[in-house]
Amino acid sequence: MNSLVRRHPAVRWAAPALVVGLIGAGQLVSRSADAAPSLPAKTPQQLLASALSAKVPGLSGTVTTSADLGLPQLPEGTGSGVAGIPLSLLSGSHTMKVWYAGGTGARVALLGRQSETDLIANRTDAWVWNSSDRTVLHAKLPSGGKHANAPVEAPKYSPQQIADWALKQAGPTTAVSSSANTVVAGRSAYDLTLTPKQSGTKVGSIHVAIDAKTSIPLQVKVFAKGAANPALSVGFSQVSFTVPDKKVFEFTPPAGASVKSVAPQRHSTDKTSAAKGRLAMPSISGTGWETVLTTTLPSKASQSVQDALTMLPAVSGSWGKGRLLDTALVSAVVTDDGRVAAGMVPPSALYTALGRG
């Protein structure tokens, strides 16, 4: 070896080249290890029924989401969104840690670069922690222990019946198949595929990966029509089915945080106050994937909504004038006189619906 190197000094350069080659080859091998596994065949009915009855005592893992809806990239921390869940989830990729244990608790931690949003629920309390503004939302869960321990109400229908019903409902508009298999988070999974039969929708197909062993859905991917990459994807990148430690679900607001208590949401009967400032009941046109919802905005939309609208491109037609939000999967039009139409359809279908209404 030594003499070879001494006679041909250039041979030494082979060593770093070899290491680079090995790293590249290692990557390729780990990719091809994700090739479709062979699993005992299951019909969509069987898959759906097993997914509906699936139960695990607990799990923990990493979930990655990615959204490529054609929206501009929203910087981290833009708007606190709903219940502390950042709006930035609607664009780019994000990583979450999830923990779940039967009746003990559940926790989702959305990881930012140097920030974190946590949703924690245990037997007695529910918490939302946002590290960027150090705020805590807290809700006492009603009669926690009893609720959590109560035996689950016996379902009126078996999972098999529900699966049959759902597939029958979807039948006219959607082709459902389970012919392909896939690998998610290193686990073999069935790929339940929903493909719209209607041509007037933006959705190309929806893939749900269902774990072969536990029947838990591991991943959901939504493809726009004709797109090679998913517009939306949510799934485990790593998962383990051991019950996580109880400590994970404990939370005490840290010193200096501002804590806001909220009453647990009840399906309130006080509709009059809730309805104020909300959207009117939408009217529906079209069927299945081509459904278009039309409604009217409350007369005094908030200033932030107005400002946001002016950032969207202006459109006009025989139906009137308005602003168009056109994403990979969904489009929506807000007219200047306050009408709204939205659906998983191209904008032209919205204009038709607006013209009719």
């Binding site: 981290e76 930012g112 840290p254």
Partner: protein, 270 residues
């Protein structure tokens, strides 16, 4: 070999410019702490989503915030400077050929040079953490640490995590030092090495910011350097840190082999 390493480290630490460099590294945490103190904390809750906004509440966050601040420029620059001295500096001064008359193989000489750089990375990060801890504790006090997950951990546990975060940053700088050592074998101009290493580092930081290059991000050395923040979660998240260490290791191995391939077969004329 041990005595060679000792003399190499002694030489590195005795250079006036390196001592000045350490002073600059120590200056940033002090500046950060003093500026925050003088501005009266500037908004308890108004701060951004990072460690810097936590500084007013707890002195332990000064070293963490300083690491974040110095990771992009000052720490890589320190390594770029000393790796310029490693081989190119000796060649420039004409001392390299005398060094090779010592009965030590070139491979060992290269190993000694790299170990000295590793030591330098360790010293640089320690100086940043120590200066930050001292300034932070004096001005804001050391309190139990509020993690990003909203849970509170004791001062002792906080210090441990700080130490691990420091070691993780050292690992990243060691990989950069391997690049520096390779470049150092290519030229006889130490300043060229410093510039080259800084260009490489800055180019990687820039590429890491461009979303259109996202397919490349995982392969960039600096991409997971800021992942030490994941240690300040409860429980700590190791995924990015482990991947970061793998990338660091891959860069170190490849560039050390490149340095060896170049240096072992090089004609030394100066």
């Amino acid at each position: 070999m041990a005595s060679l390493l000792r003399s190499e480290i002694g030489l590195m630490m005795s250079r006036r410019r390196n001592q000045m460099g350490l002073l600059v590294l120590a200056g940033v945490p002090v500046l950060l702490a003093v500026a925050t103190k003088l501005s009266g904390g500037g908004g308890e809750h108004g701060g951004g989503a990072d460690f810097i906004s936590q500084v007013t509440q707890n002195g332990l966050f000064v070293p963490l915030a300083s690491l974040t601040l110095e990771l992009t420029l000052f720490l890589p620059m320190a390594l770029a400077m000393v790796s310029g001295d490693a081989i190119a500096g000796e060649a420039h001064q004409g001392t390299l050929r005398y060094l090779l008359t010592v009965p030590v193989s070139r491979v060992r000489l290269l190993a000694v040079k790299y170990l000295a750089l590793v030591f330098g990375a360790f010293v640089a990060v320690t100086v940043v953490l120590a200066a930050g801890l001292i300034a932070g504790t004096l001005l804001f006090g050391a309190r139990p640490m509020i993690t990003l997950s909203g849970t509170t951990i004791g001062v002792g546990a906080g210090l441990w995590r700080l130490a691990i975060a420091g070691l993780y940053v050292v690992a990243g700088l060691c990989a950069l030092a391997a690049i520096g050592l390779f470049v150092s074998t290519l030229t006889e101009q130490p300043i060229a090495v410093t510039v080259a290493v800084m260009v490489v580092t800055s180019a990687m930081w820039i590429a890491d910011q461009i979303p259109q290059l996202s397919f490349l991000h995982g392969w960039l050395l600096v991409d997971r350097w800021p992942a030490f923040a994941d240690l300040i979660r409860q429980p700590p998240v190791w995924d990015s840190i482990v991947q970061g260490l793998l990338v660091d290791g891959a860069y170190a191995v490849v560039f050390l082999l490149l340095a060896w391939a170049r240096f072992a077969g090089k004609d030394i004329t100066s």
